[in-house]
Structures are given as C-alpha cells and as structure tokens.
Symmetry: C2
Subunit: 370 residues, 2 copies
C-alpha cells in the first residue's frame, strides 16, 4: 500500500531549506522542483531567478545551518518531517493542488493514513453545537474514522475531545512550538497520545490571521469529507467547506434554526448541496462507498528536470509576458495565448516573478503583479 | 376563470343529506354520485345498497329536515356551503383524491382561490419556532400568498397571527360551532375578518382525535405547498407533509438543531427531499414558477349515471367478491382480477359493503372488511 520513495537526509535538508526560503510557497516549491529536477538545483538557481524576476531586494534563502537546527529541534520534540511522495505522506493530502512539501508530524504518524473525517465549526459554539460535535466525533471514531480538526475553541475542541480515545488529528496554523489557542494546549497533549498534530510551518511560527484559512486547506485535504457543525456567514468554517468542495471532498452540514446566526452558514451549505447531517449515520452512508472504491494515487516519482534550452525565456519574451501583467488577476492560459510564448516559458517567467516577490497567485490559475 | 355550475337549492339539500348520512365519506359520496348520477337517486338507493352489503343494522340516513336545519343555522352564522364543482370551490382542493363534497366556509370566500401556502408545525413550539412561523407567514402574506393552517397552539397560531392582515385560512377539524382549541377562539374571530375558516364537518361536530389527521389533507389540499416549521417524529405535521406529497404539493421544511426533538421531523423531511427553508424567499422561489403555469382543472360536470344493467352484480358475483375480502387490505385491482368480474361490478359491491359499514378503505386503493 505504501508507495513512494524516501528522501535522503541530504535531500530532506534541501527540501526544508527551499520551503523555508522567502517567496516560496507549496505551489512555487512544486514548480521549482519540476523545473530544476530537485531542491538542491533550485536553491542554486534562486538568486538568478529573483534577479531576472526584478526583485527589489533578493529574498532570503534559508541556510543549511538553519535547516539542520530545525531538524534537530524537531527530533528532540519527537516531530518527524514527512515529505510529499514519501510512503508516510497522507495519500489524500498528496492530491490537493498545493500540498505542503514537508509536513511536520507529532504523535502517531499512522493515523494520517487512516480514513479521516474533518469536524469543524464556530469558535463561539452553542452548548448544543459543542455537545453535538463531541457526540458525532465519538460515533465516527467508533466507526473507525479518525477525526481531523483545527484545535480552535468551540466546535473544533469538542470534536477532538469526542475522539481522543479513537484517534484525532489537530492541524495547526502555526508551528508546533506555538499551539493556538493557549487554552487548548492541554487538549493538544491528550490528542498526540493516540492521534497526531501536524503543521507545515516552522516550529516557532506564531500564527497570523491569514495562516488560519491557509491551514484550513489541510484540514479538508487530509479528510474524505468535512462536517460543518455550526458556522456563521463568512466564517472560517465556510472556507474549509469551500476548500473541501474544490478538493472534491464530501461536504456535510448540520442544520440549525434559521434564527440562530450560527446556523446561517450550515443551512446555506445544505441549500447548496451539502449533505444534511443529524448524526454519524448520515456521514457514514456517504463515505463508506467512497472508502470501498479506494484511492487512486499517481505513482510518486522524482520529477524530471526540464532542460533550460526548452524553457529559458529570451529577454523579449520575458518583457512581453511581464507587460501583460498588472494588478488585475489574469488567467495563465490567457498569458500564454496573448504572449504567443510556450506554456513552459510563461511558467518560468511567473516563477521568476514569484521568487522576486512580485507575483500573487489567486484561485483558478489566476495571477497578478503585487 | 370560475368554471363549474351551481347546484340548485334542492340539489344542495340532497348533497348535504347524503354526506351527513352514516358510512358516507367523501370517496363513497363520489362513487355514489358517479353510480347513480346524483344525490337524490343515491339517497333513494341507500337502503337497498346497505341491505345487499349485509349491514347488521342499517346506517342512518340524514333527513331532509336535518339538512334544512343545518343550512339555516349556517346561514344565520354567515356560513356558506360550497359544493365540489361549483365556481367558488377551491380549484386545488378539487383535485385531491377525496375532496369534501361540501365545504362550509365562514368569512372571506374569495381567499380560497388565491394562491395559498400552508404553514404548520408543533403545538409545543419553541419560542424561536413560533417567532419564525409568524415572520414567515407575514413575509409570504406580503408576497400575496394566503396562509393556511390548523388553528392549533404553537406554530399554527403563530402562522395565522403573522398573516391576519394579508389573509389567512383556518381549517377546522370539527364544526364551526366547536372551534378547537378554545384558547384560539379570539384568534379565529380575527382570522375571519380578512380571511376564512373552513370545515367539512357538521356545525356542532366536536372534533375527535382522528378528525385532525383527516383535516390535515384539506390544509395541504388547499395549498400550493406546505411549510413545516417544527415537527417531532410521528407528529401531525408530518401527516400533513405526507398528504402534501401524495397530492403533488411542494413540501418545505425549516431545519433545526439535531439535538432538538422538534427538529427531528423537519430535518428528516429535508433529507427526503423537502426544500430547506430559512425564509419566504425559499418558498417563493419554488412556487412562483408553479403559479406561472396556472392550474389545469378538468371541466366540472354532472357525472353521468351508469345504467344498472351494466353494473348491477348478480348474487354469484357478489358472493365471489366478498369471499375475496378479509381483514387484510387487498388491492381493488386484485379483486377485479381474482373475481373475474367487471371493474364496475366490483366497485358496486364495495359501495354496498361500505354503506353497510362493513368496508374499510386504506391508502393506495386498498380495502379490507371491518
């Protein structure tokens, strides 16, 4: 079942350096690996890319010493780094658009490859909502599902509590040394006894507001489906539901009284097609057939390098592509069409701009200049 | 728009006598009219039918004096009897399986042919549920829908209250002189100011438990759709929802917290396909296209009499058909097949048994001996 190849220690250090460098997110990481054939070559190429991309100030590249220090500190805390494509990397997470190249896992690694269900919801949960979440997580746990959530107050904490004995996964928005919120630190310790805590951020990373929506893609990405227990309009839980939809995961929502603002989001999800959920049976009925089908994962392999000859843009081409960009998001397909350049060339120019900190990526393959 | 022919005073008296006679429900009434061509002929035939059906004791036939007295009392109270097929008879109600032959209406008759929506739910409503029902009825009223409900405590009363100004219809389980529950008598008086109260029962009929589910078919039958606001499992509101489904009416349900037993019924309805409803817009979105389509009603006409020659069973046939019947419900189609008799003959024998008080009709054209 476990496919994929383990990175060498050397490669793992390079991967960590690359993902910890400025302007490198999961998507850029993948593009770089695809382009240069490996992290070591990408690290070497970074300064040149940033220069050609027109970086005002070259981004910082994580040093080998920093990466080794993070590895060592993690090891001391019992945290392992699982790399994309390795046998232990969660299969479903591997299939999202922007899987973290390295996942720092504390606790029971094996739980990540069990069938997982996310249970999330409001921080200011009602007593009924929290009670429901805990019971639902318990019942799904008894049915052999691991429970993923975000360690937040309210629904998340209740979901973890309901599944401590059967196995639960807390996905952190910050690093393992900065669990949030502080009041749930004891809960986190109970979680890692049987389950696990995971993070894509550096150990000491203090989570910022925008790290929470980013983290939510991992909650849905790890799971077969996401149950939203309570959610106000425009709440973080709805972001998780949106990610779940984009990632092709099942979305479940618990109904509530229309006069309760905490039910606005969940009732809205049901109207949009989420499965109305009043208990574990509703979730199991949808997920069991999916489990039966198994997961098809493309065989993991070291990506092949694309020769510079094929994808190195000329100065003209670069200028033409940059000229097409502005503050308004534009589709990458349109850039290819309008510039007349090969897709590989356009991707290279975008990579340069990104590493120079000048490009912003939006959903749906849209990009804009910063 | 208003089609159909008015009954003569004489015919109306005969209709009232026939429907007020023992063992005659709306379905039997229709069968008798179809068979004998009119109420007067049916009344004459009743004793013979009951005898042939093997009545232990012949059922009571309402006298002309009784019918005239009921007419007179009704007139004194401002109540009119609208007969099936008359121009004022509610078009949608005419299309259900078992429309009341005579509908006693108090108040504003015209409201019955406006587009109506039923809003029903638990008697022991939550404060939030009652508030929601009242607001929903108000908003639907503003959108030109009349609101139908059952005058019960809780959700029904709230729905009437929310639509007093725009028009609301109370369907009574008993007679007009026995409104139930007593605490809503004042509300009823406010209802008939702008809207109406309707009943198929004699004026002084004290409603029994089984009259409430029977009444519920009229609530759904009058309406384009039924909104269930709160409903426990196995509650009367779910009976109304079932009637609505059988009658081809839209079913709407208001979601609630799964831990609230009053939401068990409504959440269940949504799972089964009812439209999740959090406000009037959800109802209007479904009903507006239906309104646009108009209603197709078969032209009302006096049914033609079937000659006795064609449908008078011989003794053999009668015995054969009765022998096929027992306490277990059996399909009328099967009776035709197994007896080898013509459908018209089978229907006549069933009519005789029914009038003799020996037949019970179940849903789906099933019958059994009492």
């Amino acid at each position: 079942m476990a496919e994929g190849v383990k990175l060498s220690d050397e490669q793992r250090i390079d991967w960590l350096r690359l993902i910890r460098s400025d302007n490198i997110g999961p998507r850029t990481f993948r593009d770089l690996i695809n382009h240069f054939g490996g992290a070591a070559a990408a690290l070497q190429a970074l300064p040149g890319l940033a220069r050609r991309g027109g970086a005002a100030r070259p981004g910082r590249i994580a040093t080998r010493e920093e990466a080794e220090a993070e590895m060592k500190a993690a090891r001391a805390r019992g945290i392992v780094f699982v790399a994309l494509g390795e046998p232990d990397y969660p299969l479903r997470l591997q299939m999202i658009d922007d899987p973290p190249p390295l996942l720092a896992v504390r606790g029971n690694l094996a739980i990540l490859n069990r069938p997982l269900v996310a249970v999330v919801g409001s921080r200011n949960a009602s007593a009924a909502g929290a009670k429901f979440a805990q019971a639902l997580a318990h019942d799904l746990g008894v049915a052999q599902f691991g429970i993923v959530s975000g360690l937040a107050r309210g629904i998340d904490a209740a979901a973890h509590r309901g599944s401590l004995a059967t196995g639960t996964v807390a996905v952190l928005a910050g690093g393992h040394d900065r669990p949030y919120p502080p009041e749930n630190v004891d809960l986190l310790e109970s979680i890692v006894a049987e389950g696990a805590a995971v993070s894509e951020m550096p150990l000491a990373w203090e989570p910022r507001a925008r790290d929470f929506p980013r983290r939510n893609r991992l909650i849905s990405g790890l799971a077969l489906g996401v149950v939203i227990v309570e959610a106000a309009r425009r709440s973080g839980s709805l972001i998780t539901a949106r990610f779940a939809g984009e990632q092709g995961r099942e979305v479940f929502a618990v109904p509530g009284n229309p006069l309760d603002p905490r039910a606005e989001g969940t009732n809205g999800l049901i109207k949009q097609g989420a499965t109305l959920t009043t208990g574990a049976a509703d979730v199991i009925a949808v997920l069991e057939p999916i489990l039966g089908r198994g997961i098809e994962v493309p065989p993991a392999r070291e990506p092949e390098a694309v020769g510079p000859a094929e994808s190195e843009p000329g100065e003209d081409e670069r200028a033409r592509i940059v000229a097409l960009l502005g503050p308004t998001p534009v589709a990458i397909d349109d850039l290819v069409r309008l510039s007349g350049a090969k897709p590989a060339i356009v991707r290279t120019v975008l990579l340069e701009l990104e590493i120079a900190g000048r490009l912003e990526r939006h959903g749906g393959a849209l990009v804009s200049l910063v």
